[in-house]
Symmetry: C2
Subunit: 660 residues, 2 copies
């Protein structure tokens, strides 16, 4: 009967619920190359989830061009690596630079050519194309936000959301547990104080974690350099960096989970009035905490590491005799790049694979045998199965993951042009993974209408703005771009890069090393007078020995001038892009206008017909009874009054009616 009869009669080939259709067309890895069936998703899950997947889809699409440009920039680095004079000079054995020891007493003087491979690798990410790429990515972010505004407008038109006033959708006071009602009695000021206290406590916790890892790095590298084993000592840097980044990653993953819970608890004790304000406050708090957590170690490497080292003979010491850590000879940019790639990839792999695939699988396997037991009675199977599914707990974690990724793609893109590629690869999986989760692993969520993605848009646009200034600083301060440029156009004799390495290294008179910090058992010690270190300082034979040299200040000026130029140029271009792309697609705005006039016409026509209908009754009445004039007059008067009020309401309707 019904659909099955039709199938039996070959009217239809097959029939299955929307659920299964969604699974076939959307929630499989096999269809990764296809656009998502957004309208179906919206029909099944509601507008809010539909908007999330539409946003995720657009973001993933936008990652394609940026990945391509990122790969080109990376390839440019690979191709020009052979023609890069500074790294060539560094590898050149004839041109030896004897560097000052990297640690007190146990480290020896060393040859700069031993850092040759790092220098070559860092050229991959530290070349002029990166400057172009970070301008490109800033404009990309603006363009993405603009296109999203347009897509959102289009969806909200086709999904009939233009008139939706979200605040009216839900007005639900959260009062689930006792302790909340108890907190109700707390004064608002106490809640705010508590919130501020907790947030600062959490941020302090993050900073201490970062600091802890720094201390770990300093002490371990010091400890390892005492080692008598030659191979241990030569691999100190690699060992320490690798372990430290992994510790960072683990700390981030753990704190991430804690912070999510803390933010939720904090928002609950605030007792916000509506679902919407609850969500917004939760998101803001969670975002603040997770942002600091994810980026603190990266910020440290980008802007602070190696900047408070002091100089040979006058190092900065922490904790009784531990020297502050320096960047690798290839520059801090290389380390930033390693840090970024490991944290980004690790976070994605672990959070996606372990938390989103692995743990549900494990749970599945554990519940599998149970299911087999209860599957004896055939009928109740489906709802029992559905009951075992996890409940839906909101889109916040999904958005949060993507926004943090958006940060990796935009904030430090100057140091890691492959970030968009990794994000793209992750997202192609992520879309289908989320789809699978929604279709097969979660109970079907209540549909919620939503006009836009809410506060996430503001967060995205904030990240976009922040990325401009951060990229400006990464290029100007962390990379060697400005010193190279300065050397080529100001200090170089013949406009070439020959002699750049020599120019960036200052001299140090080894006899000025403090007693007890000289290298022990050094084969060099007898032969050398001066060792070199990377900084712009006056040579030992100058009057103001070891003070910052004129070059230092000139290069610093150039760096800062670059920041100003870059920031204002990119901001200007962003405003231009924003201004040139209209927020509402032209076809939609025309459609809305047309519809509005059709609607007004329709109302007027309706009125006209109504009038006619009523009149026809009256004439009908009249024709049949010539008597009853009194009765008739009353009716006519009430009718005319009715018509007037009707017209009034149309007038007020058309004046109030608004097109966004």
């Amino acid at each position: 009967l019904g659909i099955s009869t039709l199938i039996a009669n070959n009217v239809y080939d097959a029939a299955y619920p929307l659920h299964d259709l969604l699974y076939r067309e959307w929630a499989r890895y096999g269809v990764f190359y296809k656009f998502q069936p957004i309208d179906l998703i919206r029909k099944y899950f509601g507008e809010k989830i539909g908007l999330y997947f539409a946003w995720l889809g657009l973001y993933t699409e936008f990652l394609i061009p940026s990945s391509v440009v990122g790969i080109i920039v990376f390839l440019y680095g690979c191709i020009t690596i052979e023609s890069d004079i500074p790294s060539k000079e560094m590898c050149d054995q004839h041109n030896t630079f004897t560097m000052c020891p990297l640690c007190d007493k146990f480290c020896d003087y060393w040859n700069l050519s031993s850092a040759c491979s790092t220098a070559r690798a860092s050229h991959l990410f530290d070349n002029p194309a990166t400057v172009f790429f970070s301008i490109f990515m800033a404009l990309w972010a603006t363009m993405f936000l603009e296109q999203w505004k347009r897509l959102q407008m289009r969806l909200s038109y086709f999904w009939d959301l233009t008139g939706l006033d979200e605040e009216e959708v839900k007005f639900q006071v959260i009062e689930q547990t006792e302790h909340i009602i108890q907190c109700f009695c707390l004064k608002a000021s106490i809640v705010i104080k508590l919130t501020c206290m907790y947030i600062s406590l959490q941020i302090t916790l993050t900073f201490s974690a970062v600091f802890g890892v720094i201390v770990y790095r300093i002490t371990t590298s010091a400890a390892l350099s005492f080692s008598t084993n030659e191979t241990t000592r030569s691999n100190v840097r690699v060992t320490v960096t690798a372990t430290a980044v992994i510790i960072n990653l683990v700390v981030i993953l753990i704190l991430d989970e804690i912070y999510g819970a803390v933010a939720k608890w904090l928002t609950e004790i605030e007792v916000p009035k509506t679902e919407k304000t609850f969500e917004e406050r939760l998101i803001l708090k969670a975002f603040l905490l997770k942002f600091v957590n994810s980026y603190a170690p990266i910020f440290y490497v980008a802007f602070f590491k190696g900047r408070f080292v002091g100089r040979p003979g006058h190092y900065v010491y922490v904790f009784e005799g531990y020297r502050m850590e320096e960047c690798a000879p290839g520059g801090c940019l290389m380390e930033l790049c390693i840090q970024l790639s490991i944290i980004m990839l690790g976070k994605q792999l672990i959070q996606n694979n372990l938390f989103e695939i692995g743990i549900p699988k494990m749970k599945d396997e554990r519940t599998e045998p149970k299911k087999m037991d209860t599957s004896q009675p055939k009928d109740p199977q489906q709802w029992d199965l559905d009951y075992t599914l996890e409940p839906f707990t909101g889109l916040t974690p999904e958005y949060m993951e993507m926004i943090i990724q958006f940060g990796f793609v935009t904030l430090f893109v100057a140091s890691f042009p492959l970030a968009p590629l990794f994000a793209l690869l992750n997202n192609i999986i992520e879309v289908r993974l989320d789809a699978k989760k929604f279709v097969t692993e979660l109970r079907r969520p209540d549909t919620v209408r939503a006009k836009d993605i809410g506060i996430w848009y503001n967060i995205l646009s904030g990240i976009g703005k922040l990325s401009v200034i951060i990229n400006a600083f990464v290029i100007a301060v962390t990379s060697d771009f400005i010193p190279r440029l300065m050397y080529q156009y100001t200090y170089s004799q013949n406009g070439s890069m020959h002699g750049f390495i020599n120019h960036t290294l200052s001299y140090f008179n080894v006899s000025h090393l403090k007693a007890g910090t000289q290298p022990e058992n050094s084969p060099f010690a007898q032969n050398i007078l001066f060792c070199r270190f990377k900084d712009y300082r006056e040579p030992p034979w100058s009057q103001n020995q070891y003070e910052f040299s004129k070059q230092y200040w000139a290069v610093l000026s150039a760096r800062l001038a670059f920041v100003i130029l870059f920031q204002n140029l990119v901001m200007f271009l962003s405003i231009l892009v924003d201004w040139m792309i209209p927020d509402i697609p032209k076809d939609i705005s025309e459609q809305i206008k047309k519809e509005k006039s059709v609607l007004v016409d329709f109302f007027l026509k309706e009125e006209h017909e109504k009038l006619k209908l009523v009149e026809s009754f009256i004439t009908h009445d009249k024709r049949k009874h010539k008597s009853g004039a009194e009765d008739q007059r009353i009716r006519a008067a009430s009718l005319s009054q009715f018509n007037q009020s009707q017209k009034g309401s149309i007038a007020s309707f058309s004046s109030q009616h608004t097109v966004v």
Copy 2:
């Protein structure tokens, strides 16, 4: 009869048209302290003009706090002038600095103490309070724009403009004269090329005018310094500066008139499709031209003057032997301040008093006798009088004047904290002057509806953004704020400002002056070895003599760092202010929401009543005729169909209805 009978019966005391009421309550200088009767203005002149006066009123109100703060900042300068060590040191006769001559051959060495008064005066505008004031003004501009958005929203609610779709208001192709229709045939690309060409031509014209004045200044000061008259020579700088600024002012006033006409002509040949696009394009072009025209000389003084002078012994020469001009010894900020105040005040006085009061008065007087002649027949007097009035030509010149003034108030406020005060004084007159013009001197304009002030808002917000970066540069580069700070915290021996003047002056060995450029007949020449000049350069006894010194680069770094810090801090605060003040006032948004639900209720009630009415007809029908069942059924069917369609339309209405 009518109103006059009522007055005679003492029901009313008096009666007069809205016109006269407006004159009494609004268009008189006597009521300058009162709020404007915006609703009356809107009723008489329409929404567009109402919005202009509302905007002007809000702007004038906002000028009050900024004037007060500006006066306080200025007073702070006056009070601390005695305790300012650098200007004191400069005036101190014992501490003589012999400065290098200001021109070749004819100028002598001079004592820095002779510039004492300028230095003291420049302290009035160049003190730490100015930094605070320019941050204040940047936030003030943001706050003003936010408050305007709110006021606009409020007005558009009370004036029933929320539903207004402006593009539908007018669709009028401009085709007045033959040459336009002829231009119609020109291809669009030619028009665009022509426009670009003309605009660049005009901008070139402005720059040549500025350059011309510079040349005038250089040559005149050279010519005057040849003079044998002692008093002429001592007043060279004052004479030249004063005349040059006046020439600048005259050029600005003349070009302003030309540019207005050119912009209009250019937009006419573009043949835009609607009145609105016509206006927007005209405004953009006129604004671009007038902006460049008004600010080019000020930009020159702020950022370029005195920066390409060269140094003693190696001056930069233009036109065979004329040296580039330097700033006065008190610094360029003082000159910027003079330039700003003269151009701002001159523009306001001349454009207001001469163009807006004087010329209409003169015309009035010329038409007065005519009126006396034609006033014999009593009846046609009023419309004859009205016919002699000028026609209304749009609000663009009024807005333009105010926007250029807004630029003076925000863009360079760091160098002239009294600008808001002058603007306030001007605007108190301007409001009533414009009012008078609209009420008594112009024919009553056609009322035009408008939802907002259109493109002017974007221009204002653009000026606000630009002001942040310009003020940052004025403080960092033009003023002596950063060098003072640097000296106090880095170079000074005891943390005081003693010795600052000496620190900013470099040494020059007079024997290095090129032959023929030494001062003739100098009484000093025999006794001195070194003269001083204001710059950070290596002394003659250094290895790299006269190169930029380390201090130069260090100070430059500090200046640029300040720009970055200032810009980002102010931008962050502006975003915060923008975010914290909601665009729609709370009472209005609640009112709109309430109204919407009332409207929906009303429609539903209407439907219900309609249904009842129709049903009563049917029962009425039925009661009177038990027969005619066939007829009855048809009618009932059509009625239920009608009801259905009616409900459908309400549903679509409520889903389409939008609140901005």
